[in-house]
């Protein structure tokens, strides 16, 4: 589904990703772990099409399509979704209106008719309920005045509504108390599907107690230094990252 070869990304002359390689198949859940500053969030943003980075790759294809030639909105319409680490507040735009615009933009691209307001609302409410987000949250401005946990759950809600083929979740577990973490994890698990892949970007192993990944990768200094099964995550939990860090001089 996703094939990455020698992905490099830089910003303001600073190299962040250095030759990253990764393959993700449909139905799989991958965890990308790594210490702060290793390039995890950059990796997530680059996949979603953030245009502030200078990006090169020998190969960056999503379902056979070259992502390098695709602006962010086309990636989204083709089924790529990024749950933001820091969801953006949009004052004056109701969450519901935002969600409906997004869903209809994606549906239009797939040749599906627009969802009418009533159908949309009932679907949105059902998903919101699963995430323990009340109706009022749907009517409020996007992310404005939301608590950290509410913002993260709102990202999961968007993922549920947009039904992506590939979901990248950037630290969707950070800042959550244990109850919220379970809700978010349940939401993500509910999205597991043979046709869908999920990439969890996380600093801690905690989330992986609830979502069992098929593969775990360690990102350090802008490239993947080790890959393994979920046992690797447990090992990282006990030993930290330092034993995997490369000799001095590589770290940016």
């Amino acid at each position: 589904m996703l094939r990455i070869r020698n992905l490099c990304a830089s910003i303001d002359g600073k190299q962040i990703l250095r030759g990253l390689n990764l393959d993700v198949n449909a139905g799989e859940v991958h965890a990308i772990m790594g210490p702060n500053g290793s390039g995890k969030s950059t990796f997530a943003q680059v996949l979603a099409g953030r245009d502030i980075y200078g990006v090169t790759a020998d190969d960056l294809t999503f379902e056979g399509r070259n992502l390098l030639e695709m602006p962010a909105e086309l990636r989204a319409r083709n089924g790529l979704f990024l749950a933001f680490q820091y969801p953006v507040e949009i004052p004056g735009v109701s969450n519901l209106y935002f969600l409906r615009s997004a869903v209809n933009a994606v549906r239009a691209h797939r040749g599906l008719p627009e969802l009418d307001a009533v159908d949309f609302l009932s679907v949105a409410r059902a998903h919101a309920q699963k995430l323990d987000l009340d109706d009022a949250m749907l009517k409020r401005s996007v992310n404005q005045g939301f608590s950290g946990g509410e913002k993260k759950r709102n990202e999961i809600l968007q993922m549920m509504m947009l039904e992506p083929r590939l979901a990248i979740l950037d630290e969707s577990d950070s800042g959550l108390d244990i109850d919220a973490l379970k809700i978010v994890a349940d939401g993500i698990n509910a999205m597991r599907h043979p046709e869908r892949a999920i990439i969890l970007v996380t600093h801690y192993q905690r989330l992986l107690n609830y979502i069992a990944p098929d593969r775990v990768h360690v990102l350090i200094g802008g490239s993947i230094v080790r890959s393994g099964t979920k046992e690797l995550a447990l090992e990282l939990e006990q030993r930290g990252y330092s034993w995997l860090e490369q000799p001095a001089g590589v770290e940016a």
């Binding site: 979603a48 099409g49 953030r50 245009d51 502030i52 602006p71 962010a72 909105e73 990636r75 989204a76 319409r77 979704f81 990024l82 933001f84 969801p87 953006v88 949009i90 004052p91 004056g92 735009v93 209106y97 935002f98 615009s101 997004a102 933009a105 994606v106 691209h109 401005s141 968007q158 947009l162």
Partner: protein, 460 residues
């Protein structure tokens, strides 16, 4: 020939048939004002108040006054009128159109009989505490004229204001709205001004008076529409008087043509514990200038002035507001938001005056602006004159562009550049639009904003 000569000649030609002719106080009012106007001439950018707005295009043209009601207004506008139900007064090229106007509540012409409240009388009568008529008709009615004498021209200053003086000399009609003490009006009053823009450039001088009796509550919406573009000048003056404890919800919506000129002066005077909420929605014109001046002339009075201006192309909107805290314990809140695209120009100048005796004044002013292009321009300036010491006065202004992070967030959800920008601009504008309590004005604002996105305004 200078504009003074042109308009002096015009005045001598039309003075004999202007409404109120023969009433000594009206004649005097007009004469004094015209002399003042001729003395001042049109403002130049050398005046601080007109620093950013050059009225040379108005000076270059000769605007003829309108003598008779236009035969008809185009069909599309007629259906648009249905959006502004009665009680309403409709003015076509500045003159009252009685057929389109009515006192009934919540109806549209031909004014089906009001079910529960009995049949509304003709204009000029009183209906459920509302008295509403054309100014010209009111001046012809001795009883009404007597009331007008103590109000008309008593509030809007003309001594150093050329446009207001010009209007005071030349007004041919306007709205006269009076609400009896204690009346709570359930339906908003719509005052609709349509410029046909036909033929040679013409000027209209709408002159409105809104008197809200003690403890009354009323919503009044002024709407300025262009029938089919064209070059014309609207020079309007509205005087608003809020009696003790009165609550006025005032709206001014300006949708003039891209070739039209719009200069409006609104002066509101508030008595003790009175409250005014104003929404000024402006889509610009070749030149649009909105002067809104509020005198908080009673203890405990309060005003909220909200504004939204959305302009593109070569349009210009200039908002000048002045809040005069004359008495203690008065509160003012102000928020003006501007959206500027293309080569548009915007001005916000917010004066807050706190007089020596106006202790415990609480004033807050904010100006927020969104620039959508490199060629768009905004000049925003607070102007504070504080002579009392125990006051709270705060102001702030921001000028920004579309936030890139927000754009990426929306794009990452599948929205393209255009849709994402629209959502963010709507979000920016909604803070003002959602505060609009009169549904016709709120809907129109949303519709106009939608049209603005489609670029229709650019073409008109």
């Amino acid at each position: 020939m200078t504009e003074q000569n042109i308009y002096a000649t015009q005045f001598s030609e039309i003075a004999g048939r202007l409404p109120g002719r023969g009433l000594a106080w009206v004649d005097r009012l007009r004469k004094t004002a015209v002399e003042r106007f001729l003395d001042l001439g049109l403002p130049t950018t050398r005046l601080e108040d007109w620093k950013f707005t050059n009225v040379a295009p108005i000076r270059r043209l000769t605007f003829r006054p309108v003598n008779q009601v236009s035969a008809s207004i185009p069909e599309p506008l007629r259906s648009q009128l249905d959006l502004f139900p009665s009680p309403r007064l409709v003015f076509v090229d500045g003159l009252l159109d009685r057929k389109l106007s009515g006192l009934g509540f919540g109806t549209t012409p031909p004014f089906a009989k009001e079910r529960a409240n009995g049949t509304p009388p003709n204009l000029g009568g009183e209906f459920l505490g509302l008295h509403m008529a054309g100014l010209s008709d009111s001046l012809a009615d001795p009883n009404q004229a007597a009331i007008l004498e103590s109000h008309l021209g008593r509030y809007a200053e003309t001594s150093d204001r050329a446009f207001a003086a010009w209007n005071t000399g030349f007004f041919a009609d306007g709205a006269c709205v009076m609400i009896s003490p204690g009346t709570i009006l359930t339906h908003p009053v719509h005052l609709v001004f349509i410029s046909t823009g036909a033929g040679e450039p013409r000027a209209t001088y709408p002159r409105n008076l809104i008197l809200a009796g003690e403890r009354s509550q009323v919503a009044v919406a002024e709407v300025f529409l262009s029938a089919s573009g064209g070059v014309y000048l609207t020079n309007a003056v509205t005087e608003i008087v809020a009696g003790a404890g009165a609550t006025i919800d005032y709206y001014k919506m300006e949708c003039e043509s891209g070739d039209g000129f719009h200069v409006a002066t609104v002066k509101a005077t508030l008595d003790r514990d009175a409250s005014l909420t104003s929404h000024s929605i402006s889509f610009g014109a070749a030149l649009a200038r909105n002067d809104l001046r509020v005198a908080l002339d009673g203890e405990g009075s309060q005003c909220t002035l909200n504004g939204l201006f959305v302009v593109d192309g070569q349009r210009l909107v200039d908002n000048h507001t002045e809040i005069d805290h004359r008495k203690p314990h008065a509160t003012s809140r102000e928020l003006y938001k501007g959206v500027l695209a293309g080569h548009a120009q915007g001005v916000f100048n917010g004066a807050i005056i706190v007089r020596k005796d106006a202790q415990k004044t609480d004033a807050l002013q904010r100006s927020r602006n969104l620039l959508l292009s490199e060629n768009a321009q905004i000049n925003t300036k607070p102007q504070l004159e504080i002579r009392a010491d125990d006051v709270r006065c705060a102001h702030g202004a921001t000028i920004g562009q579309i936030d890139r992070e927000s754009m990426f967030y929306l794009k990452s959800r599948g929205l393209d550049e255009r849709a994402a920008r629209q959502i963010l601009i709507r979000g920016f504008a909604s803070e003002i639009i959602e505060g609009i309590r009169v549904s016709s004005i709120r809907q129109q604002s949303e519709i106009r904003l939608g049209e603005w996105f489609e670029g229709k305004l650019e073409a008109s």
